[in-house]
């Protein structure tokens, strides 16, 4: 086990102690060691955004991030955002209802980037949305319904805030 390194990660609120080769990316460790396959393996060079997870609430390409570096940070994957059909996060709900999902391969990453965007900027303009998710490729939708879903999620959230 000379190539293995003990690391501790905090993923979706749960602590994990792992023994991994030091060169393993966060994406590989999430998928292969923790069976969290919601983050997708696609271009593996930070171009498509399908592997996006949140690190301390900020989106990162987990394919370019070494797992060892993620120690001490709060990692949120799509699996940690909700608990199934009856409990969708408002952003997930908006993506489903606005037709923003076709093949779905880009969806987990886009949903997480949107969650992070709305955390920082609850009322983003169309331009701010386009800039915030420009690192996500989607070949199916042409993006329009995704942008509409993000605008709708922001409106929904603003509505809730006003009620409260």
């Amino acid at each position: 086990m000379k190539n293995f390194l003990p690391i501790s990660l905090r993923v979706n609120g749960e602590p994990y102690d792992l023994l991994i080769p030091p060169w393993r990316t966060l994406l590989e460790v999430l998928r292969e060691n923790l069976s969290l396959t919601g983050a997708k393996r696609s271009c593996q060079e930070g171009q498509c955004g399908a592997c996006t997870v949140l690190l301390d609430r900020k989106p990162i390409n987990s394919c370019l991030y070494l797992a060892v570096e993620a120690q001490g940070k709060e990692i949120l994957t799509i699996e940690g955002l909700s608990r199934g059909a009856g409990d969708l996060h408002p952003v997930q709900k908006s993506f489903v209802e606005k037709g923003a999902i076709q093949c779905g391969f880009c969806t987990p990453g886009l949903v997480l980037s949107t969650v992070s965007l709305l955390d920082e900027n609850p009322n983003p303009s169309e331009d701010e949305i386009r800039k915030a998710v420009v690192g996500h490729l989607c070949r199916c939708t042409g993006y329009f319904q995704i942008i509409e879903a993000i605008l709708a999620a922001a409106r929904e959230r603003a509505g809730k805030d006003t009620e409260a």
Partner: protein, 790 residues
């Protein structure tokens, strides 16, 4: 008991969210790479570094000795049977045996305990190659003495198509204006985000199972049987979630599929393969780059009299479905414009490049780019409005085209009118400032093609005692929403809710045989089968309900989980109660069956004659662009389309299809190009292969889509194609808009900034050579005093 389309649908016509949307939104959907099996090994493929070479020897002994390596196979481990779709195009081998034909051709495969070991072992396989002369340009490959790729094709022709309808010479002779242009289109990739992936298992009973990302699993099933030389019944293909279709390797059995199962046989373990994106973008299945020569004759008033189309396609190293690829452009020259005389010649040529296949619209969008670009030029030369010339030649419902297409519904005129209206064309055309322009492009597509042996689709509707329905078809959801639309059809007919329907994913041992997901056939063909199957089940239930309720079968209504007498809704029972009555009391398990195929004979590829599809969709697209004259950058500032999908069963999903196809069209028009130098792909990465991003598409306020509703009599609830047709005219719309903005006609794709800058320079008269070169691409002959100069 046929349900006619009417406004009073419970589910059809509503923007129902995609059935698997929440499964995908939560990350729960398992794509092939998300599957892990106990004891699973990881496979990697060794690829040829040469575009054309003989394999004289392969020595894998060093690789086999590396720790972690379980098995290495080469082409000789397979029976050496060539496979493919049609008898004349069977030129694939699972792994190359005697020679390789392009950079990336697969020569050996490894199974190891992890991907890193497999990757390392690839470097230890010694392959001795004898490089052969290679040819990359299609026209060079057609010349006598050119390097020959396949023994069966002395002239490197992989497929050809030639036909004529009417009297083209007479049509040209009677024309007032003749125009010839040469257009060139580039190779582009499907660009799905999910890399090809599969897991193969050859178990102790000799059952061969493949879990894979496939959009046409039965094609894969047949091809695996063919290439492995085993009975098809031994093979089982199980579809996983598909991360984008667009007709890449998901359409056929690929080297990885064959190697996964054979490595599994030898290692007695499941074996997983996942391509890297570098592999996906380098290897076969891409859009055909075409050289398109088009000659058109028109009357002074713009009436089109004759067209002669010649195509040379750089097909790459293998055929895929080349015969169809070559038939389509000529066939679709008959739509959406009325051209009474047509002559067509097409050659698909083998070259030492990655091979070509289908991609959203197949070879049709390229032809639409050429034809609608030229049509604008003709209109300009004749002093006609681009919309008027299109309206004048627009085909109408009820017409039969010279090649035998029967147009049932065809709202092309309405598409033109709606696209003009939505885009504000009349206020913009010819009135925009310099470097801004607006253009139109049109196209047409089939609703499923009757082309090969098996074209029928079928469905089973199994009704369960809890009142839910298990819907089984052979069609795959590749993101387009087949799971949802087919379920909507079943739910509408049976009067249950969407959540009551479960949609089966394809498993070739369990689900009915089906040709696959291509040529925009699923909603129409499988949709009709689902409707028939649901009606069959409902009839069985209605009979039982009529007895129970002492009513006439004709009066039984199924709606919102209730079954009742139409004129007396108080007399009824719930759908679940009725099913339990049938099953428990009467011992009748309710299962509905339905099959659909169009009533037409197969197309005769030699004559090109026949009704390819039961229904055709026209579309029109208007694009507005802005050019930066300093950088040559083109920005699409607005895009509006109208498309006749018959009847939108789910308008939200139709919109997603149409807009997604539109942005792919923008990508081909402006950005995408698989750059190859001597067969080597220079940009096999999403960093360098530029697909549209969020910032490349127009603002929401400048995007419009109009459904033209014609309710096709043979489509399910009046529906026709929606997935591909809308893409057909987009490239031409952008090209025509760029012409309006710059005064320069671009005939080769993509219309990249360098071309714009050279074009602008040339238009200012600063580049004489380029001007001379461009003029050689064009020739025109006018009669009766029309302008002679370009």
């Amino acid at each position: 008991m046929t349900i006619e389309p009417h406004e009073d649908h419970a589910i059809i016509g509503k923007p129902v969210p995609k059935k698997d949307g929440w499964i995908k939104a939560t990350g729960e959907a398992k794509y092939a790479d998300d599957l892990f099996m106990p004891g699973m090994l990881y496979g990697k493929l060794l690829r040829s570094p040469y575009p054309h070479a003989k394999i004289s020897h392969i020595d894998a002994s060093r690789a086999e000795k590396l720790p972690g390596i379980r098995t290495v196979i080469t082409g000789k481990d397979f029976p050496g049977i060539k496979y493919g779709n049609m008898p004349q195009t069977r030129d694939y081998l699972p792994l190359a045996i005697e020679k390789v034909r392009y950079i990336g051709d697969e020569v050996a495969a490894i199974a190891a305990i992890d991907e890193d070991s497999a990757e390392e072992a690839l470097d230890l396989i010694r392959v001795e190659y004898e490089p052969l002369p290679a040819v990359f340009d299609a026209e060079d490959a057609m010349k006598p003495g050119a390097p020959q790729l396949h023994d069966h094709a002395a002239t490197n022709i992989s497929a050809e198509s030639a036909f004529q309808f009417g009297d083209v010479d007479k049509g040209f002779a009677e024309s007032d204006y003749l125009r010839e242009d040469l257009f060139e289109t580039q190779p582009i990739k499907q660009g799905m985000l999910e890399p090809h992936a599969c897991i193969g298992l050859w178990d102790e009973t000799d059952k061969i199972t493949l879990w894979a990302s496939k959009q046409s699993p039965y094609v894969v099933w047949k091809q695996l049987a063919m290439g492995l030389g085993v009975e098809a019944s031994k093979i089982r293909v199980i579809q996983t979630y598909v991360g984008g279709g667009f007709s890449e390797g998901e359409q056929e059995a690929m080297a990885m599929d064959f190697c996964a199962v054979l490595l599994s046989k030898k290692s007695r373990r499941p074996v997983k393969f996942v391509h890297t994106m570098d592999e996906v973008l380098s290897i076969g299945h891409m859009r055909h780059p075409l050289k398109i020569w088009l000659k058109t004759g028109a009357k002074r008033d713009g009436t089109l009299l004759a067209q002669h189309l010649k195509i040379v396609a750089n097909g790459g190293a293998y055929s895929s479905i080349g015969q169809l690829s070559m038939y389509l452009p000529g066939a679709m020259l008959n739509l959406p414009y009325r051209v009474p005389n047509i002559r067509y010649e097409a050659h698909r040529v083998y070259t030492n490049n990655g091979f070509c296949g289908a991609l959203r619209g197949h070879t049709i969008p390229q032809i639409c780019f050429a034809r609608d670009s030229q049509l604008d030029t003709i209109a300009e030369k004749l002093g006609l409005d681009p919309i008027e010339i299109r309206l004048k030649n627009a085909r109408q419902p009820g017409e039969v085209t010279p090649n035998g297409f029967r147009l049932t519904t065809f709202g092309f005129t309405e598409c033109l009118e709606k696209a003009v209206e939505a885009s504000g064309w009349r206020e913009k055309y010819g009135k925009l400032p310099r470097y801004r322009g607006i253009g139109i492009g049109c196209g047409s597509l089939v609703s499923g093609a009757r082309i090969m042996g098996h074209s029928a689709s079928s469905a089973q509707v199994n009704i369960h005692e809890d009142g839910t329905v298990f819907l089984v078809t052979g069609s795959t959801d590749v993101g387009q929403g087949a799971d949802t639309v087919l379920s909507m059809i079943a739910a509408e007919v049976l009067g249950v809710r969407m959540e009551d329907i479960r949609f089966a994913m394809v498993d070739t041992d369990m689900t009915p045989a089906d040709p696959g997901t291509f040529s925009s056939r699923v909603t129409f063909w499988t949709g009709n089968a689902v409707k028939l199957a649901s009606e069959d089940a409902r009839e069985q239930l209605a009979e039982i309900a009529a007895q129970k309720l002492k009513a006439d079968v004709k009066d039984i209504v199924f709606r919102d989980r209730q079954v009742y007498v139409g004129h007396d809704p108080q007399r009824g029972l719930s759908f679940g109660e009725l099913v339990r009555l049938a099953q428990h009391r009467l011992g009748r398990i309710i299962m509905g069956k339905g099959s659909y195929t169009s009533g037409d004979a197969l197309i005769d590829f030699r004559t090109g004659y026949g009704n390819m599809s039961p229904a055709y969709t026209p579309s029109a697209c208007v694009a507005e662009v802005e050019i930066d004259p300093e950088t040559g950058q083109v920005t699409v500032t607005g895009i509006w389309g109208a498309h006749d999908c018959g009847f939108p069963l789910n308008p939200m999903l139709v919109k997603g299809q149409v807009l997604g196809a539109t942005v792919m069209g923008i990508g081909q028009a402006l950005y995408e190009n698989l750059i190859r130098i001597e067969g080597k792909v220079m940009n096999p990465s999403f960093r360098d292969y530029k697909m549209p991003l969020t910032e490349d598409v127009p603002w929401l306020a400048n995007v419009g889509h109009v459904n033209v509703i014609t309710r096709d009599p043979s489509g399910p609830f009046g529906a026709k194609e929606a997935g591909e047709g809308a893409a057909a005219g987009v490239i031409a719309a952008v090209a025509n808009a760029v012409y309006q903005a710059t005064g320069v006609r671009f005939k080769s794709l993509p219309i990249s900034p360098d071309k714009i800058l050279f074009g602008l320079k040339e238009a200012r008269g600063e580049d004489g050579d380029a001007q001379a070169k461009r003029q050689s691409l064009t020739s025109e002959r006018s009669k009766g005093g029309f302008d002679e100069s370009d």
